[in-house]
Amino acid sequence: MKNLCEKYAGKLIRQGLCAEGEPLIAGLDAELIWNREDDRNAELAKVFDGLSINSLVCARPAEPYATIIDFLAERYGDVIRPEDTETRTFLHDIRITHEFSANAIINALSKRKAVIIPGQGIVSYGTVSPEQGFVFYSSTIFACFVLFFSDYMTAARRGELDDHYRETFKTVVGQLAEPKTTLPDLIHGPLDNEDEVLAAMAVAGRAVVEYGLVDSFFGNISYRLNDTVYISQTGSSLDELEGCIDPCRMDGSTTHGLTASSELSAHEDVYRRTDDLCILHGHPKFSVIMSMDCPKKNCENRGQCHIKCTECRTVEGIPIVPGEVGTGPTGLCNTLPPAVATSGVAIVHGHGLFTSGKVDFNGAFKRLLETENMCRKLYFERLAELTG
């Protein structure tokens, strides 16, 4: 348990979500174990008395995330309701409490997976592993980041920006890391056997995480070798894919895909429609933000854009499609494959970016990174047009 607590504390730091020495992570079996000593541990330990959980994560995010969550908490009051897919599907909404006490945290976490305490940070929990707390923590930051920039654009479009938002926005933008433009040198194809495919997927997955093109453990990656799709397992971390890739036969002769990514159907459909050999899926933030930016007024589908949008929307020619995670009549398995088959790249509304490639992952990664950088550039250009 101690190892797990330390592992996810390290990941929070490496992914730039927290400063060095900041994360507090506890795990409980018969005894409570912390990744490090801290004055807050005694109060946080009481949370385990009031909740049936086995792990807890508590940390103040690194900048600009800390500024963002504090700003949103002040603006929204008791609950934040982002409209990105991760929130809609898994978090539902994000609760806020203003008191750093066990009782306040228990009260909030008895209803939701994570809670924001302004000035203090985010607290989240797990029932089987500290990994859950890490995921909820990371997802909360992602959702808040997307909401902060989306709200700003919307307010600018409506002429409703106030000074406080402007100042905070300026601070946040000033703290954004410069976009990466140098491409990694991923394993080159052709990839002729399973070992080469697995190695190439692991390297490409790590690069997606290192370039900040995916949050927490979401996103997925696949490669087609003959009639087998090798795809990352559901809930796998793209930077830890060794042993977490399922070989799924396209002829339906096995069910090894039972633990495969929920997007297996979409990936397979892309392969059936094209001669592409690989797919990358990440959640780059500005691609998600731009997918949700729509100037249309009085749309009857407002609030249901992620499943009902009928417009032929694009970002600089890149298609934006509706669709929920996984299968079902409103699943992205119905909307994404034709778009990727046509363009080699598509954004799912409020969700993330899919790119495909021939031969190896270098081309797909290039599209992923360039699309995100283009969306980031476009965001600020569009904002400049609105704000003069």
């Binding site: 409980l28 079996d29 089987v128 069910t255 929920s262 299968t327 079902g328």
Partner: protein, 586 residues
Amino acid sequence: MSDTLFGWTGKVLHIDLTTHEMAAQYPARALYKKYIGGKGLAGYYLRPYCTCETPDPDLPLLIFTGPLCGTAAPTSGRSVIMSRSPLTGAICDSSVGGKLATMLKRAGWDGLIITGKAATPCAIEISDDDIRIRETDLWGNTCDMVFDKLGDAASIATIGPAAQNGTRIASIAVDRYHAAGRGGLGRVMAEKNLKYISVKGTGKIRVHDEAALKKAREEIKRLTAASPVLLGQHGFANYGTGAMYDLMDSRRMMPTDNFRQTRFSDAPKLNASAYKAAYKPHSHGCEGCHIRCKKVAEDGRSIPEFETMSHFTALIGNSDMDLVMKANDICGRYGLDPISAASTLACYREITGEDFTVGSLIKALHIIADGGFLGKGSLDFAQSCRKPELSMSVKGMELPAYDPRGAYGMALAYALSTRGGCHQRAYPISHEILRKPVATDRFSFSGKARIVKISEDQNAVVDSLTACKFTFLAASLEEYAKAFTAVTGIPTTAQRLLEAGERINYNERIMNSLNGFEGCDDDLPPRFFTEHGTSGGGVEIKPLDRDEFLKARANYYAVRGLDDDGRPTEETTRRLGLELDSGAVQ
């Protein structure tokens, strides 16, 4: 709670088959809040009679529904059948699908308490408030014959010849394709001379807030759509639970040759895809379920569930898929638990050294169904051969198709399950194999004690609501708490529900303690601590470390608030608001 009762009907029907008396009981609202329904309420009503032996007319057979049953809450149409097990002597509850719970609820009843013993074979027929006990000439009929004769208008729960012949691994078949399979509950029904129960209900369940329920339903369905194991293209909706077969093979934890090996060489040609190609099944589901994991072959026979697929192949050394279909069909028609039946045959095979042929396997199944020497389960048979260690069971109930050497949380959960060798109490396969909610290290006991305890509490809630545990491979109590509040009008949270789950489990521990169960019963067959499984493919299947297992079990006792020998304590009993019983509490 408001004056009007939402969700629950507020009535429980007590039927005494000895006197033919029937009485409606009106549980206090506090009781509903304390035990929820389903498994929780059934356990509450079992407690005063939990030491009764199977033939004792006072031993109740309990059939309970939950507050969500009959509403739009997804996958909530299950019922729980509970009594004391004739096989193990421990408590035994079984979550069963079909439309039994929905019909019972619509007839106006939250549950049935059946006691007494009819003088002659009888049936209970319920049609809303019209309840009749009538003699039946169907005694001796196989389950399929009962379903054929009674039709589909009402929900039917029936026993087959196996129960009537005294088999301790007899099931209760429900609505043709479903069963309360484990622990010999069919035998309890047979002791009461009760052949079948038919229920038809036409009422509606009152829901407090339809809009909030719709929202909760959307959240739950969104999560199930995102679940590879449920609605994914290789998931249960497409292949049934047999989709697990390839996974268990690749993880090298398929129990083979009575758990002597963990890999079966013929497994790749006996997987769910092979059944789909050979038998062209269509989907069938429980009432109120959108996942529809049950698969029915073109010829009307059930496609075996995963455990049956695995145990009737790898466990007994059979590579004939059609023989699995035949064995499953016999178990269904005669009313046998296929897990215990196959495991008993595997025990027989190891002890005698005799491999099965098509003829000998079918003959052996008939011996079990006829109440012959294998009909009392593997432990009885192994003991009669003075080799009790070759019964692959816990507390006398045979283990399902997940080898515990390949999933240490599963090992712990098997040992600690209150009804014996059962995978569903904590279902660590969820995180150890299926990666939900996240993956855990399957070859480690670290942290598993508390995980097992929390999972047991969650699943006790699920079986009390009464929802389907499979759904919780995607959704969580967070979403179902919203559905509960929407239906009942009672504000709650996942954590509050878990408190009820803890109480429900502890109540079962108390009942088992009253029947003499203690720490030595929370254990696995010795084979798992001394023999290797089948290593390979980069995976080593080692024997379980005995000391680590015992440490994890001790941790569980501490987390659960039991004493060092796994018995209930007065302190925890009081904390959970349970009745003290000097015979059980230390």
